[in-house]
């Protein structure tokens, strides 16, 4: 099973976002880059989008790396304190949790 390297984790975060994006009406889709703000001020995801993202991410991390990642509200609270959570920031957070 592949190891959750920083690059592999970021790739996985992007793939989950891309899948979410594909399920949105064309007018609601967003561009995805390292700097895309996922949540927080000017974040691309609404509350349902964030929940879908977390669900998809947990499933994909388990499938890709064999790591059970159960992100609680407390886990995310630290992230939410930041004004903007980008793809890069979130990937680093997931990498840290998946490697712990």
């Amino acid at each position: 099973m592949p190891t959750a390297t920083p690059a592999a984790t970021e790739e996985l975060v992007r793939s989950v976002l891309e899948r979410l994006n594909g399920d949105l009406p064309a007018a609601d889709r967003f561009a995805i880059s390292d700097d895309t703000v996922i949540m927080g001020d000017a974040g691309v995801l609404d509350s349902l989008g964030i929940a879908n993202f977390i669900v998809g991410l947990e499933e994909e991390v388990q499938r890709a790396f064999g790591v059970e990642l159960a992100l609680s509200d407390q886990d995310l609270a630290g992230l939410f304190e930041q004004p903007q959570v980008t793809v890069q920031v979130f990937a680093a957070f997931v990498h840290q949790r998946a490697s712990a």
Binding site: G22, D23, P25, L48, A51, N52, I54, V55, E59
Partner: protein
């Protein structure tokens, strides 16, 4: 010309926002989609309904039935109590069906992972859920615009992750998005089928498609068809399914690169052939291009290319037909012959909801039409040919016996259709009871056979003038002066009602050019899309046929 989309309301005990997004992302979506407040099923079904709106009513059995909810928590299940709760739910659905164009009601499911002990299938929740589902099916079976949808098909397609605890606890969404994609596919396919976009003709290859082997090389005696042979049995099952579709009104045809005499000998002589020559409306067995043959069939049968499906085991032939006739539906076909029957059954392209007598006779009707056309060659003038047919057109006011066929004709006919207005059975029943808005059906027969109920005329006689609200004619009798007969009837009805003029407003669509062409030639005075007749004059009744009303000549 684009037409305004109708409305689809998503009603559920759980969160359908993801399904709403998935539907809205579809370019072929026929509806504006909105989501009713979560868990407000009864209120949503009783609330305001935009005209022509449909609803998806996707409920959880735990919330329809308190008995079932207790059963999944290991309490004894009282079947009678659960069925009474289903009755209450069914009553709500049936009442709502009168207000919606269509209600789509997915079957109930419970995650199969749940284990309730050894008694689960005899007295447990699964047994109870099966009884509840069957009870609901029975209660709504006779309500034509309640369409039960097969949830198991969607969860099966989504695979192991179909049920998502994570999504449930985080968002009150029990399924992952793969289930919703499958549901969206089925909803849109159902809508398309019921609005005139169903497959009407399946064109089939022969070698390694209808039977196993190459008949020209192997001989008909050595084809793999039936017998104690897995592939042979699978071809028989495939043919049985095709024959079943034919009996429900889907026409079959052959396009095969073969020696015709050899192929037909196999069809006639092989004892395990389920399909015989008479089952096909057209056969093109030669070495010419299949795409050109299918284009000929489309012209001959007077159907749209989008109503045709082509099945061939050869990917080169499939690619050729896709390129030559992009509107024809060419499904990917499995290399494994054992999967033919399943693949055919999995295609959501057939309208099989309510078969009518006309459906069962469709192949015969088109064969009669071919004989009619042959007879035409012997007549120099059109009227002479029409007189030779001995046509009889019988008209009758809309009645219960004809309701299913009239509803079907309204919803399937695109080419000769004045407004392409789709009516629900409920709306048609309301018109039956309203003498100011009469609807008549027209049956056409001649010496070659009975074409059945093929025409509809709807009028509004309640205003200052008479209005033709609906003028619908099946393509199978177009051009035989039935359309003139219907206008004659419309004008006579207006005269009897004391109206000074009859007006028909055509609503143009990409497909109803034949209706426009007829109206432009009819003699009605044209102003844009509006056609008017002054009732000082009768509209001439064609002399080439006999019009019979209520059993006597009109």
């Amino acid at each position: 010309m684009g037409r305004s989309r109708t409305h689809l309301l998503l009603v559920s005990h759980f969160n359908l926002a993801n399904l709403a997004n998935i539907l809205r992302a579809r370019e072929d979506l026929p509806w504006e989609v909105s989501v009713a407040p979560l868990d407000q099923v009864t209120a949503a079904l009783q609330g305001h309904v935009p005209p022509g709106a449909s609803a998806l009513v996707w409920t959880r059995p735990e919330q329809v039935s308190a008995v079932f909810r207790k059963a999944v928590h290991f309490h004894p299940a009282e079947t009678a109590g659960a069925l009474a709760e289903v009755d209450a739910f069914a009553d709500g659905l049936i009442a709502a069906a009168g207000r919606f164009q269509a209600l789509y009601v997915p079957t109930w499911q419970y995650p199969v992972q749940a284990h309730f002990g050894t008694g689960e299938l005899r007295h447990g929740p699964y047994d109870l859920l099966a009884r509840m589902d069957l009870h609901l099916a029975g209660r709504v079976a006779d309500v034509p615009n309640i369409h039960r949808m097969h949830t198991a098909r969607w969860t099966h397609r989504a695979g192991e992750g179909a049920w998502s605890e994570r999504a449930w606890y985080l968002t009150k969404t029990p399924f992952n998005n793969a289930v919703f994609h499958a549901a969206a596919d089925d909803l849109i396919a159902h809508h398309r089928r019921s609005t005139g976009h169903a497959i009407k003709l399946i064109v089939l290859d022969l070698d390694d498609t209808l039977w196993g082997g190459i008949v020209g090389d192997d001989g008909w005696e050595n084809l793999r068809l039936g017998g104690h042979d897995a592939a042979g049995e699978s071809f028989v099952d495939f043919q049985r399914t095709l024959r079943g579709l034919k009996e429900r009104g889907i026409m079959l045809a052959i396009a095969s690169k073969n020696d015709a005499a050899v192929a037909l000998e196999a069809m006639d002589k092989h004892p395990e052939m389920v399909l015989r020559r008479d089952d096909f409306v057209a056969m093109r067995i030669d070495w010419n291009d299949k795409g050109a043959h299918i284009a000929d069939m489309v012209r001959e049968l007077n159907i749209g290319a989008q109503s045709v499906m082509f099945i061939d085991d050869n990917p080169v032939e499939r690619s050729r037909v896709r390129t030559f006739l992009p509107e024809v539906f060419v499904p990917e076909w499995p290399a494994n012959k054992l999967l033919y029957d399943r693949t055919l059954r999995s295609l959501p392209v057939f309208a099989l909801d309510a078969a009518t007598a006309e459906d069962g006779r469709r192949t015969a009707l088109y064969q009669e039409e071919a004989r009619r056309e042959q007879a035409r060659a012997g007549h120099a003038d059109m009227d002479g040919w029409l007189r030779s047919l001995g046509m009889e057109v019988r008209m009758a006011p809309l009645n219960d016996a004809d309701m299913v066929r009239v509803h079907q004709l309204f919803n399937k006919t695109n080419q000769f259709n004045l407004t392409t207005r789709r009516w629900t059975e409920q709306e048609l029943r309301e018109r039956m009871a309203d003498p100011a808005r009469p609807v008549w059906s027209f049956r056409v027969s001649d010496r070659f056979g009975d074409a059945g109920l093929t025409g509809i005329l709807g009028m509004d006689l309640g205003g200052d003038g008479a209005v033709i609200t609906d003028l619908v004619l099946s393509c199978r009798v177009m051009g035989r002066k039935v359309e003139e007969t219907m206008l004659h009837v419309a004008v006579e009805q207006a005269r009897r009602a004391g109206k000074a003029e009859v007006t028909a407003r055509l609503l143009p669509t990409p497909k109803n050019g034949p209706c426009r062409g007829f109206m432009e030639r009819s003699g009605f005075e044209q102003a844009g899309d509006t056609f008017t007749w002054d009732t000082v004059r009768s509209f001439p009744q064609p002399a080439t046929l006999e019009l019979v009303a209520n059993g006597s000549p009109a």
